[in-house]
């Protein structure tokens, strides 16, 4: 099924890059030995429950905590007024906005944190939370950005002095003039307006914290479901005013993150403040409803894209106008410089000279967030729009959608390729990936089948998405969060016996770092991966880094691991020269050993060199065998791929079924092919979820529909399609081992493929858009309206 087999350079015993090494973390997970946040119990620990607003927009007239405080076992009830005394009622978001920790003036979304009860028992805390009585004066809610932009709209962010509108940000990218010129000479313009609905990463483990502030030493140990423990330590230092050396963030095993565990949430801050004041550990475990209705939503982009084409079907330019629904606080976890994330990757896999993107973010009375749900900062919204647009463009000019892509692809000889919005794509071979996917699915036969099916009145469709991602944030000149540059780190220490420990600033949530990063060390040093322990998630014991999201671990920390290993290999070379009494220049390296050029019998192993680093090192050299690398990537990486979905659609019910899903991914060099494929399977499922069933809506009063797993539908094994994977390998030229990152490719690329397949089944009726999720009633309604028009005509 794959085009190329890549023989690993190392033996299975060493298990470097390219081996499908079985995961070391599995041993504890399959035996119930995982250590997730809620599994941690500390002596004297108290439990916290949060009181949330039932209303979307309302003034708080009063909060009566007396009955809750009277409950046996309740230690304290925290309100925003109490936090305000410590200057903690508000906190910064990761987009430089502010967010209420506990509401003091008014509530701005349903589910907002209003008070917290601290008790000796979690059941008691929840009982007492029911007894906190809040008197609200309802205000008119704004439930979409169109309402928010209306001239007479009520102002949501009255906390911001002088704020007279609901605009959270405006932003643009590309060249407006050049784009206008391209459109002026276009033979045809293809337009698509579509909504990428609000979604939520909803990992099966909700968010949580145990804050343990020692009343004597003031040492704050904060156990937290954190994808970015170091960044969170700094945020805590800034928000709570705690000295940073006294803060230790421990992020234990994480039961899925997908972006949900990147922001700092009010619950973390309240528990920490409570522990600071009470002097005992305070645990908060979010409920599922709390998770879905208050933490880190994703997407909710209303997009209009226009593609200018010449008479031959070549793209001349792209114009995008986008409005994002930000909820009550602008809390995208994203690099400072880019106000709509990396949405300007929207030009996609195609070569054209001009593009312009304008974006407006609008406050609404909905939960804040805007997290990168398994995607690198709004890249999935971008990929979805361009892949839907090119498919529609092909229909409009009567060209096959695959052929249209081939005609417009950036060619391999154009890399590094500067996109019209300023990215420099590192490497790619788009046509090869699409051709492989077409061969795997039997594209020509399917098109013939489709013609026949249409004659017989059957509906089947073939959808393509040839996506390009931008991941691995990022180079310090352009990428920071709250000013913190987005480099990452690796510290490698090999003990005298040749076995060692690798410490990283990133944090795995299921990606298998404990397995794969040891493989990088094995590749570079020839020390068996099994001899390397990987440690992450404890800020006292790992070097600084910005964490795991946006597919950045392999491009940043993976590169750092490679570089630090190479630094130590150079130290080993000096030691080897000393041991072999040869000059360094005469030494040759082959996996795991140095030998004197021309006399291979004269050699020392890497383990010999490590031992000598503690026992017999040359004069003038520092002892020990350890080093650290802070890796500042020279560029982002640009994984890509081509996905093809085949669907069968029942015209009587609107139900569509995935017959086949082919995914050809090129993420550069694969460190552990088994794990890469697992990542792709997961992403293809989340793409299916978003295209078919998984979304959060709000009614006109701002009630969140989708605040539990009975309303927010996640596909089970029964609905989830089977996947067929293919691979091409185009290494990243600037990454030390040529890897690009893969955790999000499939979530980014696949939604358009599923939707394009359904649209393709109906394209002959003139259908060009159905908004996600493609629920059967929406599909059925679309068929009816289009067939009706035909019938009447």
């Amino acid at each position: 099924m794959t085009t190329t087999e890549h023989a690993p350079k190392t033996s299975p015993e060493v298990c470097g890059v390219g081996h499908s090494r079985r995961r070391v973390e599995d041993d504890r997970f399959i035996q119930g030995g995982g250590n997730y946040l809620d599994d941690i119990e500390l002596s004297g620990m108290l439990h916290m429950a949060i009181v949330r607003s039932p209303l979307a927009h309302a003034e708080i007239l009063s909060i009566d905590t007396s009955q809750a405080e009277a409950v046996d076992g309740v230690v304290a009830v925290v309100t925003g007024d109490l936090l305000a005394q410590y200057d903690l009622a508000w906190m910064p978001t990761l987009s430089g906005d502010t967010q209420a920790v506990l509401a003091t003036d008014k509530v701005r979304f349903q589910g907002q944190e209003v008070a917290a009860v601290i008790a000796t028992d979690p059941y008691v805390a929840r009982d007492a939370a029911e007894l906190v009585f809040v008197d609200y004066e309802p205000l008119p809610p704004i439930v979409n950005p169109q309402q928010g932009l209306a001239p007479d709209a009520p102002i949501i962010r009255t906390d911001k002095e002088g704020k007279t509108d609901n605009i959270a940000y405006t932003w643009e990218s590309g060249d407006a003039q050049a784009t206008e010129a391209a459109f002026a000479r276009a033979a045809r313009v293809v337009t698509l307006e579509t909504h990428y609905p609000r979604s939520h990463p909803s990992p099966l483990e909700t968010c949580g914290v145990i804050a343990d502030v020692d009343p004597i030493t003031s040492q704050a140990t904060i156990y937290m479901t954190s994808q970015a423990p170091h960044a969170h330590r700094t945020v805590f230092a800034l928000v709570a005013g705690l000295p940073e050396q006294n803060i230790r963030i421990i992020s234990p095993d994480i039961g899925g993150g997908f972006g949900n565990k990147v922001p700092v949430y009010p619950g973390y801050v309240i528990a920490t403040a409570a522990s600071l004041v009470i002097g005992k550990p305070v645990k908060w475990i979010e409920t599922r409803t709390g998770n879905l209705s208050s933490t880190g939503f994703a997407r909710d982009y209303h997009m209009k894209g226009e593609l200018a084409l010449d008479a031959d079907g070549r793209i001349l330019g792209l114009r995008v106008d986008m409005t994002s629904d930000q909820g009550a606080f602008y809390a995208d976890a994203q690099p400072t410089k880019f106000r709509a994330g990396l949405f300007h990757i929207v030009t996609g896999s195609y070569d054209y000279p001009a593009a312009h993107v304008s974006a407006t973010g609008v406050y609404t009375n909905k939960a804040p967030g805007g997290v990168s749900y398994r995607c690198s900062f709004r890249v999935t919204e971008a990929s979805y729009l361009i892949e839907r647009l090119v498919q529609n463009a092909a229909y409009e000019i009567g060209m096959d959608p695959a052929e249209f892509r081939m005609l417009n692809f950036i060619r391999p000889d154009q890399f590094p390729y500067r996109s019209p919005t300023g990215f420099v794509y590192d490497s790619g071979d788009y046509e090869t990936a699409l051709r492989l996917a077409m061969d795997m699915v039997g594209y020509e036969d399917l098109r013939r089948e489709q013609e026949e099916a249409r004659r017989e009145g059957r509906l089947m469709g073939i959808g393509i998405a040839s996506f390009t991602e931008v991941v691995g944030a990022g180079p310090s000149k352009d990428y920071d969060i709250l000013g913190l540059k987005m480099f990452d780190s690796a510290e490698l220490r090999i003990h005298p016996t040749g076995k060692g420990i690798l410490k990283l600033g990133v944090k795995t949530q299921g990606q298998g770092h404990e397995t794969t990063f040891a493989q990088i060390v094995a590749e570079e040093l020839g020390i068996p991966a099994a001899d390397i322990k990987v440690v992450e998630g404890d800020t006292d014991n790992t070097p600084y880094g910005l964490g795991t999201y946006g597919s950045r671990s392999t491009p940043t920390a993976g590169a750092a691991t490679s570089v630090v290993s190479r630094k130590l290999r150079e130290k080993a070379r000096k030691i080897a020269a000393h041991l072999l009494e040869a000059s360094e220049e005469d030494l040759e390296w082959e996996v795991g050993k140095f030998f004197v050029r021309g006399s291979p019998e004269s050699s020392v192993t890497i383990q010999d060199c490590v031992f000598a680093a503690y026992t017999n090192f040359p004069e003038g050299m520092e002892g020990g065998f350890e080093d650290v690398d802070y890796y500042d990537p020279p560029n982002m990486t640009f994984p890509f791929g081509s996905y093809i979905v085949v669907v069968d659609l029942d015209p009587d019910t609107g139900v569509w079924k995935v017959r086949r899903m082919i995914a050809v991914d090129d993420c550069g060099v694969r460190i552990n092919p088994m794990i890469v494929e697992g990542q792709i399977h997961g992403g293809l499922t989340e793409g299916f979820a978003m295209s078919s069933m998984q979304w959060i809506t709000y009614d006109e009063d701002g009630n969140c529909i989708g605040s539990n797993f009975m309303d927010y539908l996640i596909p089970t094994a029964w609905e989830t399609p089977r996947f067929e994977l293919g691979e091409t390998v185009t290494p990243s030229p600037h990454h030390p081992i040529g890897a690009k990152g893969v955790g999000e490719s499939a979530t980014v690329g696949s939604p358009a493929a599923y939707v394009n397949a359904v649209i393709d089944a109906l394209a002959h009726l003139g259908v060009r858009n159905i908004d996600m999720p493609l629920l059967p009633d929406r599909v059925w309604e679309t068929i009816r309206s289009h067939s009706g028009a035909e019938g009447e005509g």
């Binding site: 079985r22 995961r23 973390e25 599995d26 041993d27 504890r28 997970f29 399959i30 035996q31 119930g32 030995g33 995982g34 997730y36 809620d38 599994d39 059941y123 990463p201 909803s202 990992p203 099966l204 483990e205 909700t206 095993d253 994480i254 039961g255 899925g256 993150g257 997908f258 475990i285 409920t287 599922r288 409803t289 949530q509 299921g510 990606q511 298998g512 088994m674 794990i675 494929e677 697992g678 990542q679 399977h681 997961g682 992403g683 293809l684 499922t685 989340e686 539990n708 797993f709 009975m710 996640i714 089970t716 094994a717 029964w718 989830t720 089977r722 996947f723």
Partner: protein, 159 residues
């Protein structure tokens, strides 16, 4: 209320509040944290254990309802110090990523194999359809359960 519950072969007697959920009893009272809580509404299935051999979601079952019954949790899957075939197969087939749904998935899979030693892909998918996974897309979970079934019938690592 006093209840008697056998957990992984060991009898326990405990005095519990009638409203205590079985999952909290397992996690807090017995101290076995391999059973997780994910949704509070019996939707996600990460709290599943075997009650007298049958998979049950313990976040919507009271501890008192388990009085006189026998529970198997992930911690009780090993036999004589050896991994259960389902455990070995989940590792071998990469049937887990974050590991949060894994204990429940393995218990459901083991119950299926008990009943049906050679389940088809469809049968496996149906059996685990009450359990959500956000990481794997189920592909390798299905593979792992079928591999475990195969290894169980061929003697593999079964007891």
């Amino acid at each position: 209320m006093e209840i008697n519950v056998t957990v992984n072969g060991t009898p326990h007697t405990a005095d519990v509040e009638p409203r205590m959920l079985l999952v909290d009893f397992i996690r807090s009272t017995i101290g076995l944290t391999g059973t997780h809580i994910g949704c509070d509404t019996t939707s996600c299935g990460v709290c599943t254990v075997l009650v007298d051999g049958t998979p049950m979601k313990t976040c919507t079952m009271f501890a008192v309802q388990a009085d006189g019954r026998s529970l198997t949790t992930v911690e009780g899957l090993k036999r004589n110090g050896e991994l259960h075939p389902i455990q070995a197969a989940f590792k071998e087939a990469h049937g887990l990523q974050c590991g949060f749904c894994t204990p429940a998935m393995m218990l459901v899979g083991s119950a299926l194999i008990e009943e049906n030693p050679d389940p088809s892909e469809e049968e496996v998918r149906w059996a685990i359809s009450g359990n959500l996974c956000r990481c794997t897309g189920y592909m390798n979970i299905v593979k792992a359960i079928q591999l475990a079934a195969q290894n169980s019938t061929t003697g593999g690592t079964a007891e």
